[in-house]
Amino acid sequence: MTENKDLTTVIQSQQGAETYWHALWQYRELFYYLAWRDVIVRYKETIIGIVWALLRPFLTMIVFVVVFNYFARLPSLDGVPYTLMVLTGLLAWQCFASAVSISSESLIANANMISKVYFPRLIIPLSSIVPSFMDAVITLLLLLALCVFYRFMPGWQIIVLPVFIIMLVLLSASIGIFLSALNVIYRDFRYVIPFLLQVGLYVSPIGFASTIVPQKWQIVYALNPVVGIIDGFRWSLLAGAQAFNWPGFILSWVWIIISAVVGVKYFRHVERYFADRI
């Protein structure tokens, strides 16, 4: 069979990995535009949009303070106002939860585009997590304002914060990639996700510090991928009031690597059926 060397793009039932990642890089501007679209649409009614991004963590924080600190008498970390401890936990958790729930729905939400235009599908779940991180930035500003209010001075540990932010991005992106693909193939899985996130809100160390978990259960507790990250946020933002959680840190990385490998593999395995299934 003669092959025409000029015809550079080949479409077959299988696609090589090299062209796959190359295409993703070529479409990097689309990532930017889709993220920009999602952010703009989220804050389109400017005043309400931004205020809402502030109000949501603020009100949740109040509820936690009243219920867990005032009623249930859960302790804070030494030398840290309970409010600040809750908000650092919420910052990481809400960002994770909203990123995962939005990106898991992202392919279905953009079904129309997927069935009519070609572009690397991975861009959709990836770009959809950006607004959640914009919200997190706003929560971070709220946290800093509260630090000023409580005259609490973060320490040098704050320069390590980007490491934990990157971990949060990687974890929510890879879980989001996996769930978004799963949602296209199994439509009823979408009902499970809100439930899992609901459970996660209570088992994750948000209203309390992970240090109150008995020593022998620490490793088991750290199997929750978010524990290491929340503890990292606390260590970094609250001037080391909570000791660095090494087991949690390492287990979070293990989670990130496993979910990224499994997520991307599964996504690539099923993405060629998206247009036929969606």
Partner: protein, 415 residues
């Protein structure tokens, strides 16, 4: 000329599983079903209760070979379900082939639907950048083409208005405009011109002609409208039930297509019941039996029209087209002498001497409200008939001599 697209033994198979839980229109797999099925399978319960039906394979397209050369404008025609859209989707890399391969050179811009990716909350300006990016344009490229895009779409005044406030016409114009300005070597268009106003349709066709002929780009175009296929393309691929029936020069393939799709009866009766105003029956009276007409003989067409609403000024008309899809003749009746109440009416058009040249023809029927300029009904490919030159025995006639013969007489002067 060099090939820009090469398709070899292309096939796309869909598996329809009767065991799959279906939600009306879509086939979604449910996790619950999958789990129960595998658990049942594990314990051998499956066969006891409901014997599982075998999956059926359905080839939407198979054994397609096609080479498209640089600058070709290829029309893809065929009835619904022939596999036209599947083919375009595979070339556009939206869905993947089950077997075979497609190779192409350069960039493909495909416009399979108008307005894909538009976000209603964003303004026209924002949407241009967004759509451009979705189609694969770089930021710099969109900026360079921005004015041209806006100008072509004619939406300058509404650039900063959210597109949710746009009329459907503006929407279509903007979407087509962005895609048409993408610097691509291959443009793929799927019947998007079915929407939008006539004037803009013409503009789009003009732009596509320009893209194909002047810029030397390659165009793939799916349409049911033979007029635009004839106008735009130089080659046609005719698909039927997932197979390529023929591929070649436009006129010839369109001819084959029309011959296959025509209803060979002198009387056309609308098969389905309709609620809207429509043509119920069309019947022709040719000079001979069996839809055969001798050139110059009287001809008549009778049609029954059902009106579902009151029409002030009714327009009944028809075109006679030949098998290359070219319109040859037009007869119209715009009646403002009376108001038409809902009901059934019969109209007959007499042509005292039908002077079409020998060949095969068919009808396109138009029903309109002339006052509101609303198209009420359109039927084509009805009542095919053949014209013969039986009364002219001077020589053997060829159909390409003329399309029409007028009355004439010669006088001779000896000088």
């Amino acid at each position: 000329m060099s090939a820009v697209i090469e398709i070899k033994n292309l096939g796309k198979k869909y598996t329809i599983s009767p065991n799959m839980q279906t939600d009306q229109a879509h086939h979604y797999l449910s996790l619950r079903e999958s789990i129960t099925n595998s658990v049942r399978g594990l314990f051998g319960f499956q066969n006891a209760h409901e014997p599982s039906l075998p999956d059926t394979d359905f080839w939407a397209l198979r054994h397609i070979d096609l080479t498209v050369e640089q600058g070709d404008r290829v029309g893809i025609i065929g009835s619904n379900g022939a596999g036209k859209s599947t083919l375009l989707k595979m070339i556009s890399r939206i869905t993947y082939p089950t077997e075979g391969e497609i190779r192409y050179k350069g960039r493909i811009a495909s416009l399979l639907e108008v307005g894909t990716g538009f976000h209603p909350e964003l303004t026209g300006r924002e949407n241009i950048y967004l759509i451009g990016a979705i189609l694969g344009m770089s930021h710099a490229e969109i900026r360079r083409k921005f004015d041209e895009i806006v100008d072509f779409a004619g939406i300058e005044k509404f650039l900063d208005t959210p597109v949710k406030r746009y009329s459907s016409g503006m929407y279509t114009r903007l979407a087509f405009s962005v895609a048409a300005h993408l610097e691509s070597e291959i443009l793929i268009v799927d019947e998007v011109l079915a929407v939008g106003d006539t004037e803009f349709q013409k503009k789009c066709l003009g732009k596509m002609e320009e893209i194909g002929q002047k810029e030397g780009k390659t165009l793939l175009f799916v349409s049911h409208n033979m007029d635009s296929v004839l106008q735009l393309t130089n080659k046609v691929l005719f698909l039927d039930k997932g197979k390529a029936v023929s591929y070649g020069v436009t006129d010839g393939v369109v001819n084959t297509y029309l011959e296959k799709s025509l209803v060979v009866e002198s009387r056309f009766v609308r098969p389905q019941k309709l609620e809207t105003s429509h043509f119920q029956e069309v019947e022709i009276t040719t000079s001979q039996k069996g839809n055969y007409h001798i050139h110059g003989q009287p001809f008549a067409l009778t049609t029954k029209v059902c009106l579902s609403e009151k029409v002030e000024k009714l327009g009944v008309s028809f075109q006679i087209a030949n098998y290359n899809g070219k319109n040859i003749n037009y007869c119209w009746f715009f009646d403002d002498s009376q108001e038409y109440e809902p009901g059934t009416y019969e109209f007959t058009c007499h042509i005292p001497s039908l002077r079409l040249m020998m060949g095969k023809y068919y009808f396109k029927m138009h029903l309109a409200n002339v006052k509101t300029k609303e198209k009420l009904d359109f039927v084509e490919h009805v009542c095919p008939f053949e014209v013969g030159m039986d009364t002219f025995h001077e020589w053997t006639w060829h159909s390409n001599v003329a399309v029409y013969l007028d009355d004439f007489s010669w006088s001779k002067n000896d000088l």
